[in-house]
Symmetry: C2
Subunit: 245 residues, 2 copies
DNA sequence: TGTATGCATATTGTATTCAATATGGCAAAC
DNA sequence: GTTTGCCATATTGAATACAATATGCATACA
């Protein structure tokens, strides 16, 4: 359907242990179930997914290529770490790539691509209503990954994927918060998704880009708070317990 | 030295058959010795590089992740093809990424990074004087890959790498031409490299970006000619034999 | 007590073997 | 004459067995 040089295309829909193992590993990395820097034991993972070390090692290689893991010779694989040095780069590069992807996705959108995007957005909305933080985070990831597929750019896609990995991991705590202010902002983000879909449908690249910038600014503000959180209230310690730093 | 999440770091300098095999495969792809779309035989490659299929398959996975190869389940790996559909994307995306990398490389350049860049440029200049087309192409690739390393951006690096793969393959014929006009342009490109190094050394990002844009325009013009070559001279067929389309 | 060295153990890397899937040719039927 | 199904062969995928390398601890020496 879409060009995708990395992921292998399953020729049939038979039970694919290898694919599902890779997908589960990705999920665990994105949801911080496997935190940054965590070393991965080959034999443990092989047992967990019911396959031998050989195919599992090939999965690790692939995920390393996609940026989820980092491989070191004779020292195994570990979850790619998120040091502060690269954070600066993240905030520098993300808007440019996101905007470019938004434009290309609008210009090159196909009907089936829009249908997929709407399906994902539906799941995202549902998870927002259910207050399912993990699912929100994952569906938001899928939404933006789908935009990447619709942009149909083999050159920008790999950068987008790497940005999304860290974006999802950083904003994870954002979705976990269920205080009123965060709920409002999550609804805002959800509405922005809808606006992006609408702009794509009417073929208005400038609007999609504008919505994308707004969406980014909202997310960036939240991440700023995570990196540099609000000071704990020093006049009322009772309130500080909910202020998830 | 520099962060590099994909490529495995050899902990010692012992003879590393696996690494050298991967490097040679990359070289063969970049120099079109393995043309786009060429299927790769696992057993043949394993024999060629003197290792068994297991480690060779891991190399193929990695190179697929980096964009050199494309893997299809149960159907083996093949050299990533260059269809005209993606070419459009290439010309759209390349200037943006190249400019961003040029800026970051200037801002984050380290003394050792500049030293490496100069070494590569020295090799490039030498290959230009020796009219060694293959070496020119490879060293030009290394030059820009080194700029990518100096930019030190794990998010933009993967896109730059993919762009460079196809850029190197597309401009390969450019370097093979030894007619006076092309020689002039190759010298121009070489001078632009020098100008970029100078701009980086005096910490002038705007200048590096400007030189990068010029460099891109020069290269783009050449590639345009390859995609839409000059009409063959219809008044003098003797000259047409050298006009490598 | 602090450091260095050697061994035992654990983990990773590679080769070989076996199983699953795809490919191409042949034959039979329409 | 063309097409379709089947079988033989080739190629890929996975598992086991084995080799190489790294890690941690214990011991010896300064």
């Amino acid at each position: 359907m879409f060009a995708c040089p990395i992921t292998r295309r399953p020729p049939n829909m038979k039970s694919n242990r290898k694919e599902s193992a890779a997908a589960d590993l990705k999920r665990r990395v994105l949801t911080l179930e496997c935190p940054p820097g965590m070393p991965l034991d080959e034999v443990e993972l092989a047992q967990r997914y019911g396959l031998s070390r050989t195919p599992l090692r090939e999965i690790l290689q692939r995920l390393a290529g996609e940026g989820y893991l980092t491989a070191a010779t004779n020292r195994g694989a570990s979850v790619t770490s998120m040091d502060l040095a690269t954070m600066r780069n993240f905030f520098q590069s993300a808007p440019m790539i996101y905007a470019a992807i938004a434009r290309l996705a609008t210009e090159q959108a196909t009907p089936s691509g829009i249908v997929s995007l709407k399906k994902i957005q539906k799941k995202f909305t549902a998870s927002v209503k259910k207050h399912d933080a993990g699912e929100m985070s994952l569906q938001n990831h899928h939404f933006h990954a789908q935009l990447g597929e619709m942009a149909n750019s083999p050159y920008l896609a790999p950068s987008l994927e790497r940005l999304l990995i860290d974006h999802t991991r950083m904003s994870h705590r954002f979705y976990r918060m269920s205080q009123p202010p965060s709920v409002t902002r999550i609804n805002q983000a959800c509405a922005q998704h809808d606006a992006m879909i609408a702009a794509i449908e009417r073929g208005d690249p400038a609007a999609t880009v504008a919505e994308t910038i707004d969406h980014w600014e909202l997310s960036r503000a939240e991440m700023d708070k995570y990196v540099i959180p609000d000071a704990l209230p020093f006049d009322d310690f009772a309130h500080s317990t909910n202020q998830q730093v």
